[in-house]
């Protein structure tokens, strides 16, 4: 008798345990709010607009995602370093924060398909006349702490035997630009998109965009908790639909002033 009942008991247990562990997708829908983490000092991907409201490409993606899910969107401002703790502690459901998809990081968090591709670039005062990346050898260089371009610069510097003495890291992207503006460093590494935005402002009229970091495409994904596979699956479809439904192009137009370049779309497809 007991032996006959055992499978039934197990089956019941299995059913209840399944319904007891609602996954992230269920949680968000049931809560009715999407907690979406964005780095808001990284224009035009994330910034505060003139009304001090979150704006940018990433914020548009948060809103598109909220609309797709049929929930409200709560945008949380994060620094680069807070992206993972915010996920682990459950403050955010998802971070749309230009996170480079390294295999090392993928051991810890779950990455979606890429949603953007950046180039890493140098910005410096015009009078530094930086022609190639190797011209940085004897200059003071800075970047924001904990970014992939910091890692890439340091790796390149080590490979070339430049050492770390000329390098300064800054707590945030804004601080790095402030350091450059004040002349604490001769040049900083940032992304092509952010540099283009800064160069349009008056403060940086004496500065110019320099060479790209050699041989590096910064492919970035949305991140979520690593074990939330169904949630990541949903996010992947969301990203595919963003391009197919034209939302990606619309957001790109809004923040970059042109249609999304064909090579960017191709790169996103290639890197899936």
């Amino acid at each position: 008798m007991i032996r006959k009942l055992a499978p039934l008991v197990f089956a019941c247990a299995a059913v209840t345990s399944v319904s007891a562990t609602a996954d992230q997708l269920d949680t968000v829908i049931q809560r009715g709010t999407l907690n979406c983490g964005v780095v808001l000092d990284f224009p035009p991907m994330g910034y505060f607009d003139e009304n001090n409201e979150p704006a940018g490409f990433d914020v548009d993606y948060c809103n598109d995602l909220g609309e797709a899910l049929g929930v409200d969107v709560n945008v949380l401002n994060l620094t680069w370093g807070e992206r993972i703790p915010s996920l682990v502690s459950g403050k955010t459901d998802v971070v749309i924060g230009s996170t480079s998809d390294t295999l090392e990081r993928a051991k810890t968090v779950g990455f979606t398909y890429p949603y953007f591709v950046f180039k890493f670039q140098v910005i410096a005062n015009e009078d530094k006349n930086i022609e190639s990346f190797d011209d940085l050898k004897n200059l003071k260089v800075g970047a924001a702490l904990g970014t992939t371009y910091e890692t890439e610069y340091l790796a390149y510097a080590e490979q070339q035997g430049w050492g770390k003495d000329n390098y300064t890291s800054f707590k945030s992207e804004n601080d790095a630009y402030l350091g450059l503006y004040q002349g604490k460093v001769d040049a900083i590494i940032s992304t092509n998109t952010n540099i283009a935005t800064k160069l349009r402002s008056e403060e940086f009229e004496d500065f110019e965009a320099g060479p790209y970091v050699p041989n590096y495409d910064d492919v970035v994904g949305i991140i979520a908790k690593r074990d939330e596979v169904a949630w990541i699956n949903y996010l992947n479809l969301f990203l595919v639909r963003q391009i197919r439904d034209g939302n990606m192009n619309e957001a790109y137009n809004k923040h970059f002033g042109t249609d999304a370049p064909a090579d960017l779309i191709q790169s996103l497809r290639d890197n899936k």
Binding site: G81, P85, K107, L145, F170, K171, D175, Q182, K184
Partner: protein, 221 residues
Amino acid sequence: MDYEFHWNVVFQNMPQLLNGAFVTLHVSVLAMLLGVVIAILLAIAKMNNTKFFSQVATVWVEIARNTPALFQIYMAYFGLGAFGIHLSPYVAVLSALVFINAGYLTETFRGGFQSIPSTQYSASKSLGMTSIQTYRYIILPQMLRRIYHPMTNQFVWSILMSSLGILVGMSELSGTTQRLQSLSFRTLEFFIVAAVMYFVITKLVLFGSSLLARRLFKGEI
């Protein structure tokens, strides 16, 4: 909690973490030594009858004690930067910590000086001691003994506050931890290990200072 700890990546990076811990210890010891010297001078200045000296000391103490450490460090780095004075992150953090340590310790020292009966000053004078001799042989030894414990508290504070060096990109323990965790995203592991390191550093410093006290004050503390 549904989180799997990966400790191996922390151990692989242990040399860098230890290096950061050394910088933390280095900057806070130096900030403490300089702070003590300046604080003694400020405390004497504050009790001085010349208005100029006591006012300088008062302004210093008021600013140091009533504004956040974070603000001081930021001012030393970006604030001076706006005037074209560029301190390295290390020097910026060091000078901010010295400034604050001196401010807090001044009040401690002033209390210490004032706890010593003024009759002792008169007694030294009547023995023909100069005022430097009076401070050197009579007042300072007693004063330091009395304020030794509050002084070590300040030391611990200064070790912990040096973690704000991360704000200006200093590669001390916190800055190094932040950089390493951004590579692997193993935030919890790195932060836990960093916290343990801070704990060990402060305990070592407290232990060292109690040993030193036993030698200096021959068990009278």
